[in-house]
């Protein structure tokens, strides 16, 4: 299998503010968020529930408009869903079409992009292999376990060959072992393709384990409480990395930030 080498996209958030209007009182959710994510970087985003993590992802995927500020992907302003970006939504089980097989689900975005049939087939197969779903292509999502469904959602995101992958609490509702497997899968994907990766999680261990850098959001409205670099070496290992003294230190720091400023 060949992985055409791609480089990740560079993402820049400039003073991004979001206020939801309509349906009663206005809700000021995000306040002057600025951040730069370098090509190929892995950024975890953590923060208490309801702080605005999903909102932030929706803004940078162009699904929801910003109130003020700018989001730039490779220097280009994001106003609608960018070609080079793929997202795995928080409700991933609901994001799969129950009337389509695994293969057809993965193929759908390629069809929408009007990619030729042969090429679509190739990409679907390599995405299925990448996430370890060999032999499940003709099954339906509801015939799969939660962890496997999540793999389908990831495969679907990968098939469109994005340069930036954005995931919203992707492992929140799978069992512990599956979660570790999926974490390592995401790291492998980043390694294989060099894509820029953003992952929202409420699990501080997970945030540190995966990322080059952790963005901590706190407050109402939310602001960037800290950007914490994670100096742990890659490839990471579920046992060794987590046992590293720096690991405990970093997660403690993040915990303090979130608990202290809630």
């Amino acid at each position: 299998m060949t992985h055409p080498m791609r480089t990740g996209a560079r993402l820049e958030l400039k003073d991004v503010t979001k206020t939801y209007t309509g349906h009663g009182a206005d809700k000021h959710v995000l306040d002057h968020i600025s951040c730069i994510v370098e090509p190929g970087e892995f950024l975890s985003i953590v923060g208490p529930s309801g702080v605005g993590k999903t909102t932030l992802l929706r803004l940078l995927t162009g699904l929801t408009p910003v109130t003020s500020g700018e989001i730039l992907l490779d220097g280009k302003k994001v106003t609608s869903p960018p070609e080079d970006l793929a997202i795995v939504l928080q409700e991933y089980t609901r994001s799969l079409m129950p009337w389509l097989t695994v293969e057809k689900n993965i193929e759908l975005p390629l069809k929408l992009k009007k990619i030729a049939k042969d090429e679509r087939g190739e990409r679907v197969q390599s995405a299925i292999i990448e996430v370890g779903l060999e032999g499940n292509g003709s099954r339906y999502p509801w015939q799969l376990s939660g962890g496997m469904q999540q793999r389908v959602a990831i495969a679907r995101a990968l098939a469109s060959r994005p340069r930036i992958l954005v995931m919203d609490e992707p492992f929140a509702s799978v069992d512990a072992q599956t979660r570790l497997d999926l974490e390592d899968l995401v790291l492998k994907v980043r390694d294989d393709f060099g894509i820029t990766t953003l992952l929202v999680t409420h699990d501080m261990d997970e945030a540190v384990y995966l990322a080059d850098r952790v963005l901590v959001l706190t407050g109402k409205p939310a602001h960037v409480a800290a950007e914490i670099a994670v100096p742990l070496v890659y490839p990471r290992d579920q046992v060794e990395t987590r046992a590293h003294p720096d690991f405990g230190h970093l997660r403690g720091e993040i915990y303090q930030l979130i608990r202290g400023k809630r």
């Binding site: 995927t61 869903p81 970006l85 793929a86 939504l89 609901r94 994001s95 129950p98 509801w142």
Partner: protein, 250 residues
Amino acid sequence: MRFANPKNWLWLISLGGSILIWQLVSVNLNDRPFPSASKISNALWAMLQTGEFWGDLGVTFLIAMVGLIIGIVLAVPLGLLVGLNEFAFRSTKFILDFLKVIPPIVVLPLVLLMFGTTIKFSITLVVFGVLFSVIVQATYGVRDTDPVLLDTLSAFNASKYARLKYAVLPSALPFIATGTKIATSAAVIVSIVTGLVGSGPGLGHSLSVAETGGNFPNVYAYVVVLGVVGILVNMLVSAIDKRIIFWRGK
């Protein structure tokens, strides 16, 4: 094994029991309005030999199916349009719910005046009986589309048309199928009623003629036929539904 499980042939026992009780009771009653089960079955057997019966059955079936198809063909696009448009949905909701519960028999005299006791009259009435429940179901189906699916497609830069094709329509399909199931029963009933009450062609009319003529064994024979037709049609529709909407409830 299917037959090893008593649950699977319970219906047969209860059916046999009912016929037996009918037979026992009817032989002790006035024979005129309560013919015995054996008399009814003889009448039924004789009826099945006549071309007239099969003609009637065919006409009744034709009326139901043509009315059903016209009704669905009209109702589905209407329902989809109404469901897609918030304004249309809000402004028609009350009227649709209102029309849905009006039995077609209410408008029967009106349609009868328009078309006389023709097959057109019967079909029009069936369409009326089918239309609103399917429109309403299609509307709800559209509105039941999971916003997560729509977001997913939007994130892939899907056009409005693509969102309709890949999310809205498949989401509405189970609802349309349910509406069709309800409508199919309605279509069969209405096609009989048009003959029974409005003297339109078909089994209903023959039944009413048998009743007026005091031929009670035939009346009951028709009732048995109608029941069997109803069951068969329902089974057929359920089987089709299961095949097409295989993801229902998933």
